[in-house]
């Protein structure tokens, strides 16, 4: 999988659900999108060993 901000790549053994993946990475599901190709996957989706996903943070800063 590809993680952004900062960009890095990790391999995780499958199969596992998106929710389990985020939990293992200690990522709050409210703060990211999980992208597969040109679409999005919900937290109950099952990912296999061969799947490539991007975990993209959606939080932007920049206020006084």
């Amino acid at each position: 999988m590809v993680l952004r901000n900062p960009r890095r790549e990790l391999e995780m053994p499958g199969p596992l659900t998106v929710a389990a993946l985020l939990e293992q990475l200690e990522v709050n599901p409210e703060s990211v999108l999980v992208i597969q190709g040109d679409t999005l996957v919900t937290r109950d989706a099952r990912l296999s060993d061969a799947d490539v996903v991007e975990i993209r943070p959606v939080t932007s800063g920049g206020a006084e």
Binding site: V32, S60, G62, E64
Partner: protein
């Protein structure tokens, strides 16, 4: 998960709505939320000219797209902040979006137009970069809107932004800021109306909107915002939302509907004391406006450094 509307496979779940949506119905949900925000708050009328503050990020590009989808006459305004590769990539994203759709993107580069950029302003004035950036953008958005006859300036502030700002204002009981925190700031002498049509959508939704429509936005975070207080508030609110879905919406919508009026007078008193800036003519409560004072400070430090 299945789409709440049509039972097709869902692409996004939104826990505060206790719902998931397929691509088609998620995009419809976004349009409906923006339509509702505009109508409920009387943000703008058909035929008015809208200037969208465009940063190249997910919120402003989603906003521009949504306003066009809803039939508004909307041009964009990009402000060049001079934050290295981050600004270059943001500017490129804004230009590409406009070019591919044949839209008008106005551009103001702080360095070329005003002789400073955000990193220099922060370094020479010891002001926070986000403070100097926000001050500069507010001034430029308003002056371009007034100079070019736009009825309204639309910014991409989303539900998460509003919740984080509200938390900060409440923690310090900034009553003047609370009086000004509203989805609509009415026009006044020298001020264009300012609206926040995305205040009913979370930033997860605006990012999803862009991904699903193939809108290529600036994904990287501003390097100067790293570790700022606003991001800390968002982290706290995300943790709260995870435990208690709907908390952010209840916080912001409750404030707008039931509490904002209690602070409105504070903002009104500030507006009554406004006069023209001695340098640029913009409305201000002091002789010289905060933007011109910032420019003067950066300029005088630069002269001393030579």
């Amino acid at each position: 998960m299945k789409c709440r509307v049509c039972r097709a496979p869902a692409v996004l779940d939104i826990r505060r709505h206790n719902a998931a949506f397929c691509r088609e119905h998620f995009l419809k949900h976004c349009r409906e939320q923006v339509r509702r925000a505009i109508d409920d708050q009387h943000m703008m009328a058909a035929g008015e000219r809208v200037l969208v503050a465009v940063s190249g990020g997910k919120d402003s590009l989603a906003l521009w797209d949504l306003l066009l989808e809803l039939g508004y006459d909307a041009d964009g305004l990009y402000v060049g902040l001079g934050i290295g590769e981050y600004s270059d990539a943001s500017w490129q994203a804004a230009r590409t979006f406009a070019r591919e759709r044949g839209l008008q993107l106005r551009e103001v580069d702080l360095a070329a137009e005003y002789g400073y950029d955000v990193p220099r302003a922060a370094a020479t004035t010891h002001r926070s970069p986000c403070g100097a950036c926000g001050l500069s953008k507010r001034h430029v958005f308003n002056s371009v809107a007034v100079d070019h006859g736009y009825d309204v300036v639309a910014t991409g502030h989303n539900l998460d932004d509003e919740a984080a700002v509200l938390l900060g204002n409440v923690l310090r009981w900034e009553t003047g800021y609370l009086g000004r925190q509203h989805p609509v700031l009415p026009a006044g002498p020298g001020f264009a109306r300012k609206v926040k049509p995305l205040y009913r959508l979370g930033e997860r939704e605006t990012a999803a909107y862009c991904v699903l429509l193939g809108i290529d936005y600036q994904v990287e975070e501003c390097p100067m915002a790293e570790g700022n207080r606003h991001l800390g508030y968002k982290e706290v609110l995300d943790a709260l939302e995870d435990r208690s879905p709907g908390a952010k919406a209840a916080f912001v919508f409750g404030f707008v509907d039931r509490a904002h009026d209690r602070f409105r007078d504070e903002a009104g008193i500030e507006r009554e004391g406004l006069g023209p800036c001695a340098v640029c003519g913009s409305p201000t409560t002091t002789d010289v406006c905060a933007f011109c004072r910032l420019r003067q400070r950066v300029g005088s430090r630069a002269v001393h450094a030579q």
